[in-house]
């Protein structure tokens, strides 16, 4: 095999040219999401409202859900009945979940009224909705794991909806072992993966401009040439 040394071969426009799958993947990722777009230091001037903080609030709440959930998982589902510390961790798990849903729903309301799916951002909207739906299923399995009166009753009631659509035989809400596995492995991984994809999509497309933004707006007129944005006029 020949080993190329020296400068990376480039195309006419100066872009690096990759020959391996790995290199091509890196090139694709760097083109779609260059570092300054992934971790920008500024945002368009219209990003100036408290409504923008609720997405990050949901991410922060999710971090506490994962942390408190990990402690609960490591100690088993019945630990919190007997241990005062366990009860406190259980409480932080409950309240971080309540805050997570509150922030996520406010975020959803905000993005709806901004029509934030405009300009090729439809997958961002869909992944956000998917995160909401999968979070609801995850929370539901958590309620089944409380091993108390509430989880007994939820198991008794919820079986009807699941059996009525033919999935109750495989998703048996009264099977603690099965529901525990769903709740502590598969579902949180799914939520985390969808949220990560959602955040990456937001960074790729940027924050959606105002609905009535026009080329004649002061914020768009008379802009000094900006090399950071000028060069990436994708179509």
């Amino acid at each position: 095999m020949t080993v190329h040394r020296g400068p990376v071969p480039t195309a006419d426009d100066g872009e690096p040219r990759f020959s391996t799958w790995t290199g091509k993947a890196r090139g694709w990722a760097l083109r779609r999401l260059p570092p300054d777009k992934l971790l920008p230091e500024d945002q368009p001037s219209y990003v100036s409202s408290w409504i923008y903080v609720f997405g990050m609030g949901a991410v922060a709440a999710f971090a506490y859900i994962l942390g408190s959930g990990a402690v609960l998982a490591l100690n088993g589902p019945t630990w919190f009945h007997a241990s005062a510390f366990g009860r406190f961790i259980n409480s932080t798990h409950l309240w971080s979940v309540e805050l997570f849903f509150m922030f996520m729903v406010i975020h959803l309301w905000g993005k709806f009224w901004m029509a934030a799916w405009r300009g090729g951002r439809v997958l961002t909207w869909i992944t956000g909705m998917l995160a909401f739906v999968v979070s609801i299923v995850t929370a539901f399995t958590g309620y089944l794991l409380q091993t108390n009166f509430d989880s007994q009753w939820i198991a008794f009631q919820a079986k009807d909806a699941l059996n009525a659509v033919g999935v109750g035989a495989w998703f048996n809400v009264a099977d603690l072992g099965q529901i525990l596995m769903w709740h502590i492995t598969l579902l949180p991984l799914a939520v985390a993966a969808i949220v990560a994809l959602h955040v990456v999509l937001v960074r790729m497309h940027g924050v959606v401009p105002p609905l009535e933004a026009a080329a004649s707006d002061a914020q768009l007129r008379s802009t000094a040439p900006n090399p950071a944005t000028e060069s990436e006029d994708t179509k």
Binding site: D42, S45, S48, S49, W50, I51, Y52, V53, F54, E98, M102, V105, I106, W109, G110, F149, Q219, T223, A224, N226
Partner: protein
């Protein structure tokens, strides 16, 4: 019609419920939903701090 129903059962602490016709809501859920609506309105109305725009 607002009515507070304090159920009497074998278990303690059965909670406070508000009922308007067919609509029944538990105190905790009402607080959570009301808080969300208030936060949403505040987020729209309150001015966002921060430096003015730059080029």
């Amino acid at each position: 019609m607002l009515g507070i129903r304090q159920a009497d059962a074998g278990m303690p602490d059965t909670g406070i419920y508000f009922q308007w016709g067919d609509f029944l809501i538990q105190f905790g859920n009402l607080v959570v939903i009301a808080t969300m609506v208030v936060l949403f309105i505040l987020a729209l109305v309150l001015p966002f701090p921060g430096r003015r725009s730059r080029k």
